[in-house]
Amino acid sequence: MKLEASARQTAQAVPNRIESWAKVTGQALYADDIEWPNMAYGCLVRSPQAHARILGVDLAAARSMPGVLAAIEGPGSSAPYGIMPSNQDEHALAVDKVTYLGEPVAAIAAESFRQAYAAARAVRVEYEALSPVLKAGAPEKSLPQVREESETGNLHKAVDLEFGDVATGLQTASYRREDRLFYQGNNHVALEPHAVTAFWQPNGQIVVQSATQVPHYVQRSLAKALGVPEHLVRVMVPTLGGGFGGKSELFPHEVAAALLSRRCGRPVRITLSREDVFYTHRGRHPVAMKVETGFDAESRIQAMSFESVLDGGAYGSYGIASTYYTGALQPTTYRMGAYRFHGERWYTTKPPCGPKRGHGTTQPRALLEVHMDRVARDLGLDPIELRRKNLQPAYSVTVNQLDITTSGLAACLDAVERMSSWKERRGRLPYGQGLGFACSSYLSGAGLPIYWNPLPHSGVRIAVNRDGGVHVACGLTDIGQGANTVLAVLAAKALGVCLERVQLTTQDTATTPVDLGSYSSRVTMMAGNALLAAAQHMLSLLTEAAAHHWEVPAEAVARDGEDFCVDGGGQRAGWTEVVRWAEAELGPLAASGGYTPAPPRGRHKGSGVGPSPAYSFSACVAEVAVDDLDGRVQVKRLYVAHDPGTPLNPQSVEGQIRGGAVMGLGEALMEAQAFNPDGRHRGPHLLGYRIPTILDVPEIEVAVVGEPDPNGPMGAKEAGQGPLNPVIPAVLNAVREAIGVDLSETPLTPDRVLRALERRRREEAR
């Protein structure tokens, strides 16, 4: 059977993915699939120590091994870099000391991967071991300092925000409660491990094909690390096998591949093993949190104080942003009189943490929603009713100065309440079964870029050719979420042409206008708006050309399908014909558009984290059964509602909701980037770090709610990250409902549940 050729569909019938055919036939090329002529293979030499001074690196043995082309070590090889402008603390290859097990120390290039690997194993590095630093928030003087960039000791960054008078709000509250939660860190586990090919060409240009979500930032950082002008670095992204935040900055293997290529004059491929991915990490921070909230007599939030302590790992990465994010979005769901946030991020000798789907908002949301459930219990209120009393309304400004436009939050609450038969069933299930609720919200793109600049966040260039084809160039990166499809479909819709006319060039820094990257759920919002601007420009060129040709005013020109016509005038011309008229008049046709979000309302320090052109909203009810004998939390069903504004590609939106929910389920039940007391990862492989299999996933009922957002392209908001957030606290709340035990740590593995039940059994026996 033939695949329903997506190219033949009209723009109205949205295909799931314009590139599905390549992915189902094995034709799609990922970073490790592309064979360059004369390519060499690289392998990183990593530290077996979690924290140690480097006394010496001996590359001699490795250099003499068969097939070895180049061997390099840290000192003098590259300049420091980092994703945050104020945190340039990383070297591609460690200089002087190593600060996590797995940190790259040297790199080898050889004729084959086998030879590179064997040589890397032969490199001898002499270390002087230092004490590992494993705990965040432990200002013990005796512990060695991990990074010189620390504020004091191993404190990387402390931030404070206060809006309104929290002390008074708490003091005068008619009811107040404090809760704590430790949220375990976890990894993205994109199925595709990172891979790169870099070629330092003899002409000085450096061409890089890398599995990254952010080619623009990789280009910038790589140029800095290599000490070359940015225009000499070209970053291209092949088909990307998932990101989830784990491929959102420059990594050592990317720098090392370029350095090795310069040494051996050949393209160099470095592909990470699954183990390497767990060391490269940048996953969700482990966070210890405390929240205290005071309510008035009507059960409305009078004041909230939130504290988070993040275990950052060995480098800054996105950490400063992550820290602010743990305090940023509590007020987007709940209106409150006053709000205070204190956050700290600490350096430890573990792989660096960074952004993962829900960046920094997932952990506090888990505690906040568990807290709201406990408040409801104390106050004798239905948990959903308590939320309803406190919802932040649409078209409002939050206590921390965030502008909310559309909000489907109330509709999300209604939807999951209805789908789960909440009113009929909650509180009436037998022991061992429970329903739990939670809601959340997320950004549709960060309001500010990572480094300050006044330039567009996203740019699109549209060329229309005399063959009638439409070429759209944009720096956006399709990480598997369907960004290319959204761009193509929007282009077809905006220009009023069949999808088959549209060709894309994306994820290439040399041939496309900059898009900042696939992070913060920004692509549909920002590339979409840039596309609409460019398309409008192009349409006006074509409309004017038709108007000139027909000698009518431009306003008289209308569209009928792809055709241009004059209402009531009888003139009519096909798309390609009008394109040719325009090219004859104007020369080759090109139009561009950019998008920059409105500046944030807040002017305080830290106000750059949290603002967004629009917020998505989500809610979840989890239905669980907890087995008393084996401790298993079986999630029997999830009900998830999400407000993505206008879903531009309904099938993709559903896919994001389901995928996000299941990733949340994994975080709630099994995933842990955890370490032994000596700093060793508990299991840097897929048996030691477990993600849900097809047998661990319940049926999920999905509802899409909401209305077109005025800031979104054709009304769209995000769907890629938001739906993950409510799942974790919904499961936690359901488990509490099922067994009556409050668990204060994630994930809810069966051993943890069994121990909690055993503790209670012993307490009851006493």
Binding site: R121, E275, D628, D630
Partner: protein, 329 residues
């Protein structure tokens, strides 16, 4: 990925050639390879010559013998065990255990012999080479320390084959080929030392598994983190014979809590001929919990693993009761 070191693959076609190949220094039997190959790439296992069992027809047969017993060749895949009519008919607990191993593909590749001989696992050893590079060599790697149990004089790595307790509960015997063929009950096959966990001399091979005629009713239960792929964090199998209105000759085995399966004699004594009330089954489970002493070298927490044993045994015993009721006894 981490490439394998150079080695030879030998594929003998007959029994004599097989035994000759295995007698060579550095020869290692290769069943399905689903555990051995990653073990080699992580430098957990070593071998100069992998001797494939796949080409020896005698090792791939499932035969019903004249005395009513069944002989399973060591190279029969777990998928075949799980769906074979002879096994489903008389030894359903073994089919359950085989189906609990790994995933669909791993069962299509992995063999019953490989599962019985499966290398023991430990969270402080079953890690990639870099992870272990700066760690003192442990007993299993030829060193003299145990990272999981510093006070232990031997390796405490975990026996992780799911079919082991099921076969033990069924009273299976192992047929060993070597200088002289021998047979032994499966529970005598495991030494209790995780570093040399099975009693096979150089050149010897587990060739077949004999399942008894008129087997007892048996049941198998597994506890792990996920519903698929994962090795057991604890497993259990029980069997008994329903005779004259009561369960007789119960056998209770717990495994994946140490280097060898644990036979819970106290529970067997409690259960033999008694009225199997819910409380009694719980009590038997509690005896099993007390009888095992896992170390913190699995994926899940050690206290949880021990507590889970109670439920596994109680549930498996409950499965026997259900099987009896289904048969109208």
């Amino acid at each position: 990925m981490m490439p394998l070191r150079p080695l030879a693959v030998v594929t003998p076609r007959g029994e004599e050639e097989l035994l000759r190949s295995l007698a060579v220094e550095g020869a290692v039997p290769l069943g399905g390879g689903s555990d051995l190959i990653p073990g080699l790439s992580w430098e957990l296992a070593s071998g100069d010559a992998l001797v494939s069992l796949a080409g020896v027809p005698a090792l791939r047969r499932t035969d019903a013998l004249a005395d009513g017993s069944v002989c399973l060749g060591a190279a029969v895949t777990l998928a075949e065990v799980a769906r074979h009519p002879l096994i489903l008919g008389a030894y359903p607990a073994l089919a359950d255990a085989a189906r609990a191993v790994g995933s669909w593909e791993l069962r299509a590749q992995g063999t019953i012999g490989g599962n019985v001989c499966l290398a023991t696992r430990c969270r402080f050893r079953n890690q990639p080479p870099l992870w272990r590079d700066a760690l003192q060599t442990c007993y299993q790697s030829g060193g003299d320390v145990c990272h999981a149990a510093p006070a232990s004089r031997t390796c405490v790595a975990i026996l992780s084959g799911d079919t082991v307790p099921a076969l033990a509960a069924l009273g299976a015997q192992l047929e060993i080929w070597g200088h002289a063929a021998r047979r032994l009950p499966i529970e005598d096959f495991y030494s209790g030392d995780g570093a040399h966990h099975i009693s096979l001399a150089k050149g010897e091979l587990l060739a077949a598994i004999h399942l008894p005629a008129d087997p007892p009713t048996a049941a198998f239960r597994k506890w792990r983190a996920r519903e698929s792929i994962d090795f057991p964090e604890a497993n259990a199998a029980v069997s008994a014979v329903w005779r004259e209105g009561a369960w007789r000759a119960p056998r209770v085995f717990v495994s994946a809590v140490g280097p060898a399966p644990v036979r819970v004699v106290a529970a067997e004594a409690l259960l033999d001929g008694a009225d199997w009330s819910e409380d009694l089954l719980r009590a038997a489970g509690e005896l099993a919990r007390k009888a095992v002493h896992p170390y913190d070298n699995g994926q899940l927490n050690v206290a949880g693993r021990q507590i889970a044993v109670r439920g596994l045994v109680a549930r498996a015993l409950g499965d026997l009761q259900n099987a009896r009721r289904e048969r109208g006894l």
